[in-house]
Structure formats: C-alpha cells, structure tokens
Amino acid sequence: MNGIHDMGGLHGFGAVEVEADEPVFHARWEGRVYAMTQQLDTRGVYSLDEHRHEIELMGTPSYLLDGYYGRWLFAMERILDRKGILTRAEVDLRLSEIGADALAPTRPDREARHWPLAPEELTPWGAWRRDRDADIVPKFAVGDRVRVRNLHPEGHTRLTAYIRGKVGTVSIVNAQAWVLPDTRAHNRGENLQPVYNVDFPADEVWGPQAEPNVTVKVDLMEDYLEREV
C-alpha cells in the first residue's frame, strides 16, 4: 500500500540525529515488545509480513510519533485481537486494573479465545524455503534489463514506490525459494520465487536532481519485474 512507511526519496525530515552511547533499548518496554514479537513470530502466531502490514495500517501521525517499538506494539495488539487470541477489551481491562493498582487483576478465561492455533493456522517461520529451492527457475539473469512494474496494491508489498516504472539492470540473482510478502501478509500463500538485486543509475530514479556517480541497488521479487525490450 502507498503510505508513510514507504519513505525512499521523501523530503522534509531534516538531519539524521546521531545519539552518542546509545543503549540497545531506550526503555524496558521496548525490549519486552521486541522479544515478545520474536517469540510470537518464531512460534508461527503471525508472520513478518503480517507484522509489517499491520504497521502500514497505522495512521500517519501515529506512525511518525509512536517510535519503532511503538509500531511493533501496535501491530502485536491488533493482530492478536483480530485473530481472537487476545482482545482489545481484555488489554484495556488489564490496563485499568494496573492503573488502579489492583492486587488481583481479572484472570483471562483460557477457553474464551482462539487458542491454541491449529497446525494449519501456524505460519512457518522465515522467508526462505530452502527445501523448495530446486523448484525455482529464475526468469532473469545477471545483466538483463528489467522494468519495475507500475503496481499500487492496496495491501502489503515490498515494491517501493520510488522505483516503480524505472528501468534497471539485474546485478544479483538470488535463485532461492523466497516467500512473496504480498500474498503471505494476507494469508494467501507463499508464492515462492527468486529475489533480484537490480541496479538503477541515480538519474533514472531522481532525474535532474540525482547526485553524480550513484547507483541505487534494490532487492525486488520476481513478480515485481518485467523484461525491458
């Protein structure tokens, strides 16, 4: 989807602020959110692509203000709610009980939820299906000229906006079986395919505002590309 998360080329964000002696996590809750997400992902509760797409659905002001791990928390809560694993009402109740220093918060009813997930509901971890590599026959080779398809899907994609319609040259063929994020994010299958790194001369992308002697190298799924004739 076209949204604020797709930041390549945007103006107006100012200087990059570098923090000296930065901690790994700036607050305890950031580490908790990170580690909980990793546990839920590796256990197949939700995939990386669902996680990213949920973040894309945040409103623009929240996306910019909530911070990196704030986005992760948002995604976790919404996905768990949508899947019936933990509802927003339960989180709000627990929140009010924490705020009131309740000694014995309401115990969640283990039966009243979609848990545990059935095996077919679990998302296999990772994006590379190495056991399926033999099925992959790349359409493009190193040196091929390719044009990025001009696609604007409403759902999830990793096809960044700033290179849509642009012509580049394949520089790396990752001829392994990679999950297509566009379909897995919506539980519509893995659609295994190669990932290409494609070189775009800066002036192909940025026109007269391009800097000299710059190549932008973007990783792209095979479905995002067509042969340039």
């Binding site: 964000f13 908790r32 994006a127 000299p212």
Partner: protein, 218 residues
C-alpha cells in the same frame, strides 16, 4: 482486505483516561499485554528475558568486527565470505535464526557501499545486533537513497565524485554487511587488535575507518 478497521488506533482511545500514570503509556500497555499473554501461556516471560539479554549483552557490532578482521587477515576466508556471507560466518561460530541470507559487500577506494532500508529498518541483526535509532529514523530512510553524497558528508564522510556510491536498499529478507577498507597503519596488528578498530558505522557504510597510528596503538 481481510483486516477490520473499526478500532481506532489504541492510544487515541485511552490516553485521556490514563494521564495519572507516571510511566509512558506504551510501558503500561506493554505490561498489560505481556501479563495477559503470560497468564494464558502464550508467551514465556523467562524466554522474553533471555531474548532481551541476548540482544543487550551477547550480539552487537563486535560480532561483525570479528568477521571483518578475519576477512582482512585471511584472503581465502574473505573469498568465501563474499561468496556466501552466512556460511562463512558459521565458520566463526556466528549465526542465528534472525538472518537467513547475507551478502557481504566490499568497500574499495573506487566503490563505496552503504546500506539502508527505506520500508522499515531491515538490518543484519545476526552480525551487528539491533540497529541504532538513526538507522531507523525517517531522515535516514528517506534521504540515503536520494542524496547519499550529501547525507554521508553530513554524517562525517565526504566522498569525492569519482568514488562511485552504491546504496543498497535492503527491502527483501536478504541482509547486507559492508566490508570496510582496512585502514593504513594496521599492518602490524593482530586479528584481535583489528577487531577493536572496526566500528559499527563502517559496517553499515556511513563511516570509513581512520588511519591508525601504530606507535600509539593500545
């Protein structure tokens, strides 16, 4: 789309009711979610502790520095590293579930590589740990693909126009690590000493390593 959109963004709805809380709303909200998921047996808080400690204490830029120092001192290892990053890292006991495939890209006097992810903040966690805040910032993500010369100069790395800049927008599940140039003045250093001079920023590509004064090398 299958997603429902009827919930407002959560903190729009609750922030007014919890202004009495002294901690940031996200800290309290995280505690609520974690305690519920733990009550239900969906997550294991002890495992959460372990993962947090792993990223705080066990993995970080020092891991990548070991890879770089080895590549500088062992040409055969370097060749294997450039051919298949993760397989070569595994020779050093480096690996983990977070990175599935790694390309190592070599900086030279003629070609400078720098890594960004414009769509989120993809980063080679297995070799560099978690990314710094600036790598995740809107400014870095928006600007590095469009004006890398200007941004690198602002970040302290001016490059001449005859140096080709390659900006890797790592938006797939393939990860990238920059192999920085070995600086002058390091011929006499051991691999262990070399590890100490490799900075995180040089492995992202926003810095070069400074010439070392061997006389004062500690």
């Amino acid at each position: 789309m299958a997603h429902d959109h009827h919930h407002d963004h959560h903190h729009d709805g609750h922030s007014h009711g919890h202004e009495e809380l002294e901690r940031p709303w996200q800290a309290v909200r995280t505690e609520a979610v974690e305690s519920l998921l733990a009550d239900l047996g969906i997550i294991d808080p002890a495992r959460v502790d372990e993962i947090v400690r792993y990223y705080e204490e066990k993995v970080g830029p020092k891991t990548g520095a070991r890879v770089v120092a080895k590549a500088w001192t062992d040409p055969e290892f370097k060749a294997r590293l450039l051919a298949n990053g993760l397989e070569a890292c595994a020779e050093l006991g480096i690996g983990g579930p977070e990175t599935e495939y790694l390309h190592v890209v070599e900086n030279t006097p003629e070609v400078h590589n720098v890594i960004v992810c414009t769509l989120c903040s993809c980063y080679p966690w297995t070799v560099l740990g978690l990314p710094p805040a600036w790598y995740k910032s809107s400014a870095y993500r928006s600007r590095m693909v469009r004006e890398p010369r200007r941004l690198l100069a602002e970040m302290g790395l001016p490059l001449q126009d005859d140096v080709r800049i390659q900006v890797w927008d790592s938006v797939s599940e393939i990860r990238y690590l920059v192999l920085p140039e070995r600086p002058a003045g390091t011929d006499g250093l051991t691999e262990e000493q070399l590890i100490e001079i490799v900075s995180r920023d040089s492995m992202i590509g926003v810095a070069k390593l400074p010439v070392q004064d061997q006389g004062s090398q500690s």
